[in-house]
Symmetry: C2
Subunit: 267 residues, 2 copies
Amino acid sequence: MNLLLFEEDEIDSRGRVRLRERRADHLRHVLRVRPNTTLRIGVVRGPTGTATVTRVADESVDLEVRLTGEPPPPPDIELILAVPRPKALPRVVQHAAALGTRRIDLVNAWRVEKAYFDSPRLDPDALRYQAWLGCEQGAITWVPEINVHRRLLPFLSQVLGPRLRDAAPPRRLLAHPEAVRFVEEVSTDSFSSVTVVAIGPEGGWIGEELESLVELGFVSVRLGRGLLRTEAAVTSLLAQVELCTRVSGRTRSRGCSSAPGSRIVMS
Amino acid sequence: MNLLLFEEDEIDSRGRVRLRERRADHLRHVLRVRPNTTLRIGVVRGPTGTATVTRVADESVDLEVRLTGEPPPPPDIELILAVPRPKALPRVVQHAAALGTRRIDLVNAWRVEKAYFDSPRLDPDALRYQAWLGCEQGAITWVPEINVHRRLLPFLSQVLGPRLRDAAPPRRLLAHPEAVRFVEEVSTDSFSSVTVVAIGPEGGWIGEELESLVELGFVSVRLGRGLLRTEAAVTSLLAQVELCTRVSGRTRSRGCSSAPGSRIVMS
């Protein structure tokens, strides 16, 4: 736990928080806090700050909270992910949250085993818990919203399509082992806004799914040399997109306007 | 299994291989091969090709092998990694091998729990097995050599130091959450040769360890926005280095010589 997270409504009017259960247990038994221990804290989707432990009891830990500064900007990556095998799901969600992900849509696909949808790990509370753990690990305050969509094509046409039309045109990337281009070879002029990345099942998307994504403006990219399991594919692509977004942001902030079709190269 | 791997000495003089145990079981029960099924194959650190199944028996599968072309070049990334918690170790090794890693040195560090060294997962055969699985997943023929070093400073001075002096000067990166630079901000002129990356325990390297690595020429880099668990840190850094190496290689192949101190930017 690199950042102790809580909801805004857990803070009382005098800036105090009483923690119970998991977080209190972690503070007492893992971090071994005592009165006056100082902790890094964050409010979900809100500001960060510090807290001082005021009391450690058998069933609770009391804190006095000081929030400083503006909330960090929300992460600029959204993830559309074919439901992975249930054993890997908690890790995938944790890593994506720790890397900073604005939203995760878990979707069905032809090559997703139908039995995966019966897993209790897909329950909203279980998903939110894993996202929360990832944020505590990553010291990220943005707990991503996670939704599960049991039918892919209606999700694409009725949910994602309108969302993409409403927002500023986001970069859309589709992980595909047979793609000819790598992430950094895709035109980078809109890495400035949100990047939506779609990662299929380990067996790949089928043709019809690929076509539907391409119709929505998704561009296929290769992740690299190896063929990766879902958890490594998610982490690799998010890390590479984050790098491209940083490079794009630095180029803009230096006053070098990025021409449409520009690429990442070495200066 | 995206590539069926075997050792060169498993192929007889007539280009035939008889598989037993795990690989035969996988071919029969997961891939459900039959006579005439064609498979992608690779020889460890050798060429790739295809094989045709000639016989499926209760305890073995026979193949006829056709190797094509030159062996792929070895991966250009080496990993020095503080021994992670044993539960995560198999995944870390698999992901690193699947991404393409030339060599892995698992090292001790002040913040590595001593009990980790008692884990059977650190046995050479167990490590090689996980690396092999990763290569089968990644379709990578380079099974990385993995060594375990129970004392960090003697490893650095007596093993790594001489190795770095003997080879062409490799890029040396050290993952450090407090570093001021990101991977792509480090001078990229030697991403052309091998990159050695060092990733510490989740609690971080201590000062003396950092100093020893810096003395060997390691440059600290931040991975990104979040603080990552070992498996996500390894995957993120390897994926980002691979991207930088690709960009560096493309720049060279276009005839743009990279000046010392050059950086990755957008054109």
